[in-house]
């Protein structure tokens, strides 16, 4: 995984828009919430291989980054993205890692199921 290059992510988002794609979206607080002094609630959520089609997708922020995808009836959103897999050329594999390198958030988009 490498530090996110927004232009490369944007290119992948454009490449994958307008067709049915598989999405993995995940968020987990792990020890992060406690570290930040928030109520110590360990929470995790993920949805794997959800099929969506988005009409617009873009990356925003100055790092960590945010990605928003507009679907027919709603949105897919991830905030806190720091890294991506630059070896993949037809799928997006992005994640946000905390200071200890632990994964906090993941967003993956592909034409094939993960």
């Amino acid at each position: 995984m490498k530090r996110i290059e927004p232009a490369a992510i944007q290119q992948l988002l454009d490449q994958l828009k307008g067709e049915e794609v598989y999405i993995h979206l995940e968020m987990t607080t792990g020890a992060y919430a406690a570290h930040r002094g928030e109520a110590n609630l360990a929470a995790t959520a993920f949805i794997s291989n959800a099929i969506v089609t988005y009409s617009q997708g873009s990356i925003a922020g100055e790092g960590p980054y945010r990605v928003g995808l507009k679907t027919e009836k709603g949105w897919v959103f991830a905030q806190g993205l720091t890294h991506w897999e630059d070896a993949e050329h037809d799928k997006l594999i992005a994640a946000g890692h905390d200071g200890d390198g632990k994964l906090v958030v993941a967003l993956q988009i592909s034409r094939e199921p993960f």
Binding site: Q56, G61, R66, G68, K70, W75, F77
Partner: protein, 216 residues
């Protein structure tokens, strides 16, 4: 500036208007007609009331009612809820919304537009909203352009932007402003902290509102 004619307020969340609630009240008292575009319903907010009285499904309706009440108390003449999704303003089709804002400016001919200062909103929705308004106004002929005054909430705002162009004393209407602000009950704790009317020192911070004029 004389405080009459039309004023357009464009902000992304219910309760954003309370930041400049006193200024809005003063303009209205002096005869201005205020239209407020509230882009989202703040439906992704994390505050669900204390004790909890809202959930993800009910929150948009509840915040819409809070907004209506707050605006009624401020005296705002027209509230337009544009229905963008909370937190997603920056990912929207900007060109489309810029055009909508332009159309509204051409239709209502405001002499003043109030919004967030792009880059000084802290929340991405605030920045995106401010950017769209600035783009909309930039696209107008110079003689069509209303004055745009902006809210800056970043800590370094004063250093980067210089002192505010308007340091508005709203002491005369601060009770009405706070009454409006209190309508956002789901957000009450967040916004007011441990505010209570019998703590005069808490009231002080609501008495001055700062605005920066955008220079095109």
């Amino acid at each position: 500036m004389t405080r009459q004619g039309n004023i357009l307020v464009v902000l992304p969340h219910p309760d954003d208007e309370s930041i400049i609630g006193g200024t809005i009240i003063q303009h209205i008292q002096q005869g201005a007609h205020v239209t407020y575009v509230c882009m989202t319903l703040g439906e992704m907010g994390r505050n669900m009331g204390t004790p909890l009285f809202a959930n993800r499904v009910t929150l948009p309706r509840i915040r819409e009612k809070e907004l209506d009440e707050a605006c009624r108390i401020l005296g705002i003449h027209e509230v337009q809820k544009w229905g963008l999704h909370d937190k997603m303003v920056e990912f929207e089709d900007r060109a489309y919304w810029v055009q909508r804002i332009q159309e509204l400016i051409r239709a209502t001919k405001p002499k003043l537009v109030l919004t967030f200062y792009p880059g000084h909103g802290v929340h991405p929705d605030h920045d995106a909203c401010g950017e769209m308004v600035i783009r909309a106004v930039s696209g107008l002929a110079p003689e069509e352009r209303p004055v745009v005054q902006c809210i800056a909430v970043t800590r370094q705002g004063k250093q980067l932007l210089g002192p505010p162009d308007l340091e508005n004393d709203v002491s005369d209407v601060v009770d009405q402003k706070i009454e409006s602000l209190l309508q956002h009950q789901t957000q009450f704790q967040l916004m007011m902290g441990d505010y209570s009317p019998d703590k005069p020192e808490k009231k002080e911070r609501y008495k001055i509102e700062r605005l920066w004029t955008y220079r095109f």
